[in-house]
């Protein structure tokens, strides 16, 4: 008996070793080539060290030898899921040149951006379901995303790397079918979106897996610069569309979805709410696209005045900041992209500590990481 007691007492001192696991660069839940060096004790995560740069493509260096019309097509390749919103960063060039773009362009850009946001959130939804083990969500999400991509294909000529916004306007005028197709899509998707909730949101297993997991407080969200739906779920009001409206956003009424909990479930819900908001924005604009040119009169070679310019746009993942330093030539002196994923990624270590591997996967899924956005 005494022996047993001794064993029980001494077992308090038994410690398990921490060990390191490389999640990635090839791992199903890192959505690309992200490598997380995870320090684990059993199943418990003690530290997450992201290692990035596997697809660093040097976009910032490349921009130094490209003209301002050529740069937008590279931004497609950063956060490829919000290609149009990245393209929209040409607003920075327009502001610098003090060019007034036609109203029609603003409307088209905003509708496109919101369609792209829905498409991005759809893909995020299916990937989140898959990361949590519900594989069917993946196909339902992609099925619905296909409708949007078809609309893009018809108007922009591409499905993923749109390159639709150029300084001063857009590449083409909208296709004659555009308005009808968008309206049909909205009508259809309004019926399908509640199904997403039935399949995943309401599911008791999903709720158990996500409620109260990986809580990011508002202070931390601000300190780590976590923007986009992930930051708003913590109560950080950071929607550029609201605070520094660009394009047609000043003309529409929409709510900035905000949460307070900051847990995985709230981040999830917020993106679903954003899809509803995006649909309402599109509905407000789609019937009122004014007639006019689809591009402003621009010079053949765009030269920015000497100086520094900074513009932010709201992508599906958060704030994309473009910082252009111009020396008056046709190529920029320096372009810096403040990508939302970059800041968001490094908050993961802070909130994943103490949770299990499965929770780490869930947290990563709801941060909606796109790796080329981080690596650039």
């Amino acid at each position: 008996m005494a022996e047993l007691k001794e064993i029980i007492i001494s077992s308090d001192n038994i410690k398990t070793d921490e060990y390191l696991v490389n999640m990635g660069p090839q791992h199903p839940s890192t959505h690309g080539v992200l490598r997380l060096l995870v320090k684990l004790e059993g199943e418990i995560v003690h530290n997450v060290q992201p290692h990035v740069g596997y697809i660093h493509s040097g976009i910032e260096k490349m921009t130094e030898s490209l003209s301002y019309t050529q740069i937008p097509h590279l931004t497609d390749r950063m956060d490829y899921l919000s290609a149009h919103m990245n393209n929209e960063a040409v607003v920075c060039v327009e502001n610098a040149l003090e060019v007034e773009v036609p109203e029609r362009v603003k409307y088209i850009r905003t509708i496109m951006a919101e369609l792209q946001r829905i498409a991005s959130h759809q893909l995020w939804w299916c990937a989140t379901g898959m990361d949590l083990g519900a594989l069917t969500t993946f196909f339902y999400g992609l099925r619905d995303r296909e409708d949007i991509l078809d609309i893009f294909e018809e108007t922009c000529g591409a499905r993923l790397t749109l390159n639709y916004s150029l300084p001063g306007g857009v590449m083409f005028d909208i296709h004659p079918n555009f308005q009808n197709r968008v309206k049909t899509f909205i009508k259809k998707f309004k019926k399908i979106l509640p199904e997403y909730d039935e399949l995943l949101t309401g599911n008791v297993i999903f709720q158990e897996r996500s409620k109260g997991i990986g809580v990011l407080s508002k202070e931390d969200a601000i300190a780590f610069g976590v923007t986009g739906p992930s930051g708003r779920a913590s109560g950080f009001s950071c929607d550029v569309r609201k605070h520094q409206p660009y394009s047609a956003y000043p003309l529409v009424k929409f709510n900035e979805a905000l949460g307070t909990e900051g847990d995985t479930f709230r981040r999830y819900q917020l993106r679903i709410a954003e899809m509803w908001e995006s649909m309402s924005i599109i509905e407000q604009l789609i019937d009122n696209i004014p007639e006019g040119d689809y591009t402003a009169k621009m010079k053949g070679v765009i030269k920015l005045p000497e100086g520094e310019f900074f513009q932010r746009v709201e992508t599906a993942r958060g704030e994309l900041g473009v910082y252009i330093v111009s020396d008056g030539k046709k190529n920029p002196y320096r372009v810096k992209f403040r990508s939302p994923g970059f800041s968001n990624l490094f908050a993961i270590n802070h909130i994943a500590k103490g949770w299990k591997i499965a929770d780490l996967v869930a947290i990563m899924a709801t941060f909606d990481l796109v790796i080329p956005d981080i690596d650039r």
Binding site: E60, F224, G307, Y333
Partner: protein
Amino acid sequence: MTHEELTAYLSSRFPAAEISQGKQYVEMTVAASDLHSVAQQLKEAKEAAFDYMVCLSGVDYPDHIKVVYHLESTSLQHLLVLKVKTDGRENPVLDTLSDLWPTAEFHEREVYDLLGVKFNNHPDLRRLFLDDTWGFPLRKDYVDDVHIVSR
């Protein structure tokens, strides 16, 4: 705060700094030695309350490297461009701001990686994207005959 108020406030608070109204935002250039104390005051002073670092970029110039901080206040809704020049390009060193804004930790690592600016007291100053043998590609004098093909 409006730009004028911000300019007035900053010039009374930091007489040593160069404050100008840029094309879009208020810009302030400080000396490298003052960087950390200025940043700390900017973050902690009630009138400034710059609690959110939007962006941290490095720009290479012929005789120095400039590091640009875009700071925003989420409560007062104003934005400040804080600039600091390093002393030369051979061995540029600045103080880290990662203790004030945690997000700066990785942005500073990026600047170190691509421009070679070292940050004092940085908790984990390693290269971020590239391996250790690589040069500093965002410097203007960087040459790479293998990877950069120009026509």
